[in-house]
Symmetry: D2
Amino acid sequence: MKACFMSKRSAEVVFACAVFSLVFAGQGVCKPRVRDEVKIPDVGGYLTLACDFHMHTIFSDGRVWPEIRAEEAWREGLDAFAITEHIEYQRHEKDVRTNHNRSYEIAKGSAESLRLVIIKGAEITREMPPGHFNAIFLKDANALDVEEWRDAIKEAVEQKAFVWWNHPGWRGQQPDGKSIWYEEHTELYKKGWMDGIEIVNDDEYYPLAHKWALEKKLTMIGGSDVHTPTGLNYDFHTGEHRSMTLVLSKEKSEGAIKDALLNRRTVVYWRKNLIGEEKYLRPIFDGSIEILNPEVTIKGKGSAYVQILNKSEVDFELESAGEVEEISAPGSVTLYGEKVNLLRIRGKKEDVSGEKEMRLAYKVKNLWVGPEEGLRAELVIKVNLVPAKKK
Amino acid sequence: MKACFMSKRSAEVVFACAVFSLVFAGQGVCKPRVRDEVKIPDVGGYLTLACDFHMHTIFSDGRVWPEIRAEEAWREGLDAFAITEHIEYQRHEKDVRTNHNRSYEIAKGSAESLRLVIIKGAEITREMPPGHFNAIFLKDANALDVEEWRDAIKEAVEQKAFVWWNHPGWRGQQPDGKSIWYEEHTELYKKGWMDGIEIVNDDEYYPLAHKWALEKKLTMIGGSDVHTPTGLNYDFHTGEHRSMTLVLSKEKSEGAIKDALLNRRTVVYWRKNLIGEEKYLRPIFDGSIEILNPEVTIKGKGSAYVQILNKSEVDFELESAGEVEEISAPGSVTLYGEKVNLLRIRGKKEDVSGEKEMRLAYKVKNLWVGPEEGLRAELVIKVNLVPAKKK
Amino acid sequence: MKACFMSKRSAEVVFACAVFSLVFAGQGVCKPRVRDEVKIPDVGGYLTLACDFHMHTIFSDGRVWPEIRAEEAWREGLDAFAITEHIEYQRHEKDVRTNHNRSYEIAKGSAESLRLVIIKGAEITREMPPGHFNAIFLKDANALDVEEWRDAIKEAVEQKAFVWWNHPGWRGQQPDGKSIWYEEHTELYKKGWMDGIEIVNDDEYYPLAHKWALEKKLTMIGGSDVHTPTGLNYDFHTGEHRSMTLVLSKEKSEGAIKDALLNRRTVVYWRKNLIGEEKYLRPIFDGSIEILNPEVTIKGKGSAYVQILNKSEVDFELESAGEVEEISAPGSVTLYGEKVNLLRIRGKKEDVSGEKEMRLAYKVKNLWVGPEEGLRAELVIKVNLVPAKKK
Amino acid sequence: MKACFMSKRSAEVVFACAVFSLVFAGQGVCKPRVRDEVKIPDVGGYLTLACDFHMHTIFSDGRVWPEIRAEEAWREGLDAFAITEHIEYQRHEKDVRTNHNRSYEIAKGSAESLRLVIIKGAEITREMPPGHFNAIFLKDANALDVEEWRDAIKEAVEQKAFVWWNHPGWRGQQPDGKSIWYEEHTELYKKGWMDGIEIVNDDEYYPLAHKWALEKKLTMIGGSDVHTPTGLNYDFHTGEHRSMTLVLSKEKSEGAIKDALLNRRTVVYWRKNLIGEEKYLRPIFDGSIEILNPEVTIKGKGSAYVQILNKSEVDFELESAGEVEEISAPGSVTLYGEKVNLLRIRGKKEDVSGEKEMRLAYKVKNLWVGPEEGLRAELVIKVNLVPAKKK
């Protein structure tokens, strides 16, 4: 790309692979500017929106210009995002003028031209306790730049922000890496000033925070907290994705997302895991799976293949959670995402007959309904048992 | 990554995949922070240094913080780089204070901690003619911020910079996409103020500029001119690389690189092509290729495989440039990079015998000694011809 | 895998990644046995079945056991396949007993357990003219093993086979690589003994055969003609696929496939190209493409992005086939498969207003309705033109 | 590929991507036929040869023609291989004539044209005890086809074969998956009829066999035991490789390999692990690693990066095995194969000075000198400690 000297008016992100003389066409490939959707099914009448509400740019201690956050979000299949600059810490203040609203203002044009929902946010960045808190749906982030942390959070609440506690087990503030709930958190929680909690931040998962979220009915949040270009942190071509929050939303709009967050309709997508309430994980699993041949015939102790399409991008790791009387099924099986998978079942006796619906019980080890607790799920197959031929 | 609130003193780029509880170890992978060397052999007593002397950050119209340029350069196997901000154009001046030396100052720590040579540069950004010029090995880029373009270049020259004409065929300044050499360029050239010329900029190659470089003995330069994170522009996992200049340098130091540039010891690496003088491309080809079985036996009209290891990362595309009397060889063959390749040769007659050295003549279509003109090369094999058995 | 010494009764293909002690679980990955669907939409009430009716095993001159053909077909997303051994040539006859029906018999169990349609076939392998002919839907391939080629084809026809001419431009029989239509072909054609013709075989495309197919109403066939394991011939992980015939079939059954073939409802899938009649290619294109924001607003000479999801696996390469008065659109654009793509359109005047449906005309260069002739297609967008603000 | 009707005399494997008309050149890519070397350094004056001495073809219960085994071996970087058909079990005997030497005879031409060492072998396939035994360097495999297992092994020994016990913990013969050493094994061992033992077979590792190998001085063997095309079992593009034996051999010849096997100069390469005696694993590690900047300077509690090139293809997983007084180093670090890796070390005190050689002690978790016991290794760095500046 050349300097945009002649085209100063263009405010949006431009990624142009310049058209070049035909002689050289086909010589190489400029990386296409394409979007990979996050493939997790919609559930229960809600859209499953891929969102990341925690990231930084050069306006605090990040290392990219805000428009890049929009471009990355679009390519990675996000539907909505918030940039959350540290209010109290500008790493680059010698060179960059302080204005906590600028990231939002700058990224807004790029985001909207790409049809992304961008939400104004900020990170109230204090020592533990209470630690760092994100606030989104802000009107003016600069108003949070006050002396006392209680005043900062209060200001966010008065702006009707959605507020959550960030990385409660981060070693930078919890030296032994264990989340600790302080009195200050009780204070915030009781005041209704803490709507949610990060159970995932970047590459960290906090089992205690997960437990608290379930007990205290806090919205579960997962964020990338990315500071560099996302491509320096994730190997997208191997299927890696940033840590994110899936928001079950009535529509793709700021208002609907806020409604969903306030009503705790979220699932956290961390590495190969989906983490959330059973009432959301179950329909995600069921909506992802399609048994292509739900009726099979088995002769005696013979076998049959059940073909299972997993329409989602998540590889579901199943582990048996109970036996069926008449047939044996694998003790563990992975249903790879966007693939048709084989489940081989076998008859146990030579001399049986009859058609029967069988419910194969599994734990889905990487869909977590509680800390490291897999979702129970069933694969339902109609099996026609036929006696083996006499030899 | 968390905010670096507690560790303000750290000035270097930190990409940390935080250590997390063992329970979750192995659950996913944080992209490793590793370097892929550019695999092109050293030649003729020189080191082949991978260099990019043309890139931007938020201090002109780029969209990353300068440290990112060091990190990207290291990962992509560069040995040296220069950030060349536009002197005359700061896209982000509303938010970022103007200082043309800052990119260098900020990136210096990261670059040096990673053992990269960083060179101070700037882009004198004027309308055509004369267009844009890069100057590197500057002492003070701010001194180039003057009214007249001649004065700007003069200042660079007085600072003993190496100066070259950028993207001479860029459509932004050459509406029909054809490079035009103006009187102003003659003026600069005659004064000795133009040391080199970009024959490659980002995804563009300029055949006319290539011709001029050869005729006028200008150093051939190829630069990425990257404005965004490089990962948004290149698919590294498919083997793509940024456009760059290979500098044949006595050592890995700023001084040695300057000496190499002034003495035109460069090869431009663009897409799948290496572009340079024959005297450099030939040893690169010869140094890349190893014939693993240089002696083969062929019975009559039978065949034999010659195994050719290509130690470089470049896929050499060979096309026959002449026939050999006794044997036939493929009309075209690609010697894939970092692979052992097969060349199948066949006898032409049943009834011959004798051992003979054969020189298979090829054009290497993607090693350009002139505009789109492939290097002539030979594969030398000793063939032992044996008469076919009578049946 | 261990020898199946103890389990001789198992006749089906078993690809087992043995369960091993938990200590070592996760240490490595056994390639999952999964299926990648061929992602081309169904059209016009027909299923788009992925089929390969041309392949070999050790029973003629191939190098795999027949069950492998079923396993490969399943993994690669095929719905139906035929093994077509050479009747006249058994490369391995010293070791393998001759029986032209055995491939089918052996592969049948594997195919059916994987829910693939397997069709009995054979290749009548004669010198040119008339060259090689495939016949599928055979009852007894051994009956084709007769002296005269006319008798062999006659036998196939009497068995109600579907018969086609293979690789009409193969250099092994057409020394200059050009397809020649001999009198013998006219004879077969007039008798109704030639139902189709290969316009694609392995990596070859025959433009003349393509022309004949259209003129003479022959069913267009594309086959892999694979002899080795397919994985030695194709790089599946880069998106490569075997050459195949897409059959537009009322259902997934042998009978329905035969009906489709006899009625010329086929599209050939070769490399990045789909080749077929316009009446089938158009709905494939239209069914693949979804314009996510079919209504956009443009201010003056500003721009807007149209986001286009390509649900198919084919990258559609579009080239402009006409201009629109009010806006400019890219002269060429690739709509990558399984991605959301961006089409940037721009206003041509500052001072216009009004809402208008615009039909952007393109040639889809890799959907061939005739020899190398791209399908004409339109992208229909409603554009709301708004005057640019006065400054 | 077309039928090889006209070229019956060609006995070697031919993988031809036919040359096609220039019009369509570049349209797609036929998978190149290339070899990826196994990148493990030579050690101690020996060549490190990549070998697989356990595989099957259609002549027992495999599913490929023998030539495929040569082609796969070449592409996957093997130097030598043996096909080891079951003597007692021909799954395909209805179609394939019995001859235990045929695999070798058929594959020999392909192997030699590709410069691979092929060794004649067979698998004596008996019930447990003693289970299955491989014998290689046979003269006539058919002579092993005798009633009594002792006679079969005796015959192999008399042919001067190298004999080993296969998959001692295979569940097909060891129902609880645990290797059991029977009296019969003691008998064979005492007679000198058991030279080695598989500690790895396909995806299984047998810790008990590993222990026995060390105690009883049996040669450690790892084999793929592959029955299908290898590409159906391994995802080569993700870096997977077949299970194999690395033979430390004086030269690439059958004789030298036999000498190495008899003298237990082997290392087993299984998944991401190398398994062998410390005297071989240590030089492999040391020969793979190059510290690019073995001298670093640290200011006070500051840090420095040590850049470590891992020339091998194995990712070495290091875990700290001891602390150094003056500096802290990562508790765990992976040195990725064929990459430059960063090791960040930090000073512990602000006020120190002096230059010192430091030996960072690590366990290499995936180089096993005993069952799951990592090799101890040191990274030696010269650190120049400089007091931090007073602020």
